[in-house]
Subunit: 331 residues, 2 copies
């Protein structure tokens, strides 16, 4: 049995920057037990006044782009700049990732050994839809523990990029140089989410190609619509091996931060994210009660493929399911 | 009082291609009355075996790109090709559009006068979230009435492009030539949804610029990720004034249709759309019951801005709202 603490104990531990207590608080938030979730929810609410001061950076890219080595090298640079760093991962289906995430995290030994860094492996055995709020809570807990920069890695499965984009201030896309072939692995829509692009592994024989890719992508991106914040995503090149270009990435993030904080976009974006988070939680919790309902489950199980193959109208089934649900909860 | 018919009367009328009955059936589906919605839902279910045979084309573009003139010219070309055409519009907030939609539709006189064309103005005074299913139902009703091609126009407000993308086979983006400045009006993410791009108003002094834009965009698009169907969106130029390029657009759609039907993507995409439609309907109906609940409304009204400004945790409020809702429905 895992040991639980009181609300006060968790709160004091997290605020004191106690990493063991921070880990235990995140585990509490990731729990499947209703009593744990209620306590975690209260804890986050209590700690809310101490959150919001970090810079939240989301990092994505296809497998093989070198996300882990980048996060380790970039994290170390941030430590050198006097910043403390927490690393989280959003992985909506850990079971599918064949353990690579855990492998990645153990490889970040250099970063993990510094006491101003905190690395949290992604949760395992999670429920779809519940993960996003748990990562958000993990993020808030890290902020209350005093970390200056939160790096959130997405593994690119399912809706994970959209989820991460919805909880960060800056979304960074790592790419490989080449004639665009590597992009086949990037899902549609991801490029337009990015606040900055980095051509990674720009070292040795790759350097010339990386420079060419930088210029090609810069030109192409100018043809695409600007975001509402009027920020034009820069294209940079970097190597986690030679460390070339890493400081420029941090400067880009700082420039973005300055610009968005003066324009007011920083805060309005976070306010919008909070309301979206409320919506997501409501949808998730409503859906949870609904889908756990026995008759609903049965009806859905029997008719879902009839909707899929076009025999049954989606609206008809939806109406029947809702009627079944509300009639029985009223009794 | 609007006159209602029996399920059989609607069904027979729609299947016979009776345009008045078709209009009345769509009005029924757009109704705010529960009894109308129940009847419309049954009607769509009854007509389902007669649907699915049309080509569904979504059309978007910034205001001023000439969507109405394009739809009229392209619609007439389809009639010349021996196809019957229905035109629908998705407009999630008609009140904000200052009547331009209605104005547009009345300008399509040339197309509307042909009895193989059916033009349905967008619904007015609609509830957010409910519109998408209603447009889908309007689309199915038009299919059951025998139309070969359905053109669905999106006005670009809110989530309307995503909604339309989720109900069509082919999504067409109209653009203007120029140095990319016109794109500022296009929302991020829209370009990556497109199955084909058309530089519109490619006539007179604009023609040279349009040709240049075609080549610039073709090159840029090659850098961007391919969709899972392996279709690379072509960039074409066209004029609704001179009719140049319109037939090439229809050929592009036909080529896409052939390719996707042989690869199986056509049907798998529609199957996915049906399941998404089920999800959307469930979310909408669950949300409707939830948000119509008096205590929920009151609690949400009092606390929503506390979430927005970061005082109250989104998860805490969501949990309280859900508890309130389910405790009271159980009594």
């Amino acid at each position: 049995m895992r040991k639980r603490f009181t609300l006060e104990e968790y709160k004091e531990g997290v605020l004191a920057g106690d990493r063991t207590k921070l880990s235990q608080a995140i585990t509490l938030a990731e729990s499947a037990l209703e009593s744990d979730l209620a306590l975690a929810s209260d804890l986050v609410q209590e700690l809310l006044p101490y959150t919001g001061k970090s810079i939240r950076i989301g990092i994505t890219g296809v497998p093989g782009v070198g996300k882990s080595t980048f996060i380790e090298a970039f994290g170390k640079l941030l430590l050198e700049q006097g910043k403390s760093v927490a690393v989280l991962a959003v992985d909506p289906s850990s079971k599918k990732s064949k353990g690579s995430i855990l492998g990645d995290k153990t490889r970040m030994e250099n970063l993990a050994s510094d006491n101003r860094a905190f690395i949290r492996p992604s949760p395992t055995g999670t429920t779809l839809g519940g993960v996003s709020s748990k990562t958000r809570e993990a993020m808030l807990l890290c902020e209350a523990a005093g970390f200056d920069v939160i790096l959130i890695e997405t593994v690119g499965v399912g809706q994970s990029e959209t989820t991460v984009k919805g909880m960060v201030d800056f979304f960074l896309l790592l790419m490989l140089s080449g004639a665009g072939d590597e992009l086949q692995g990037i899902k549609k829509g991801i490029m337009e989410m990015a606040d900055g692009l980095v051509i990674h592994k720009a070292d040795g024989d790759n350097l010339a190609n990386a420079k060419k890719a930088k210029s090609t992508y810069s030109n192409a991106l100018h043809l695409f619509p600007l975001a509402e914040n009027n920020w034009s995503p820069p294209v940079l090149i970097a190597s986690s091996l030679t460390k070339e270009g890493l400081i420029e990435i941090w400067e880009m993030v700082q420039q973005y931060t300055d610009q968005m904080q003066s324009s007011g976009f920083w805060e309005s974006n976070r306010a919008e994210q909070r309301l979206n988070w409320l919506d997501e939680n409501l949808q998730f919790l409503l859906g949870k009660f609904f889908l756990e309902h026995e008759q609903v489950q049965e009806m859905l199980c029997q008719n879902r493929n009839r909707v899929e193959n076009g025999e049954l109208s989606p609206l008809s089934l939806a109406r029947d399911l809702i009627t079944t649900f509300f009639n029985s909860t009223k009794n």
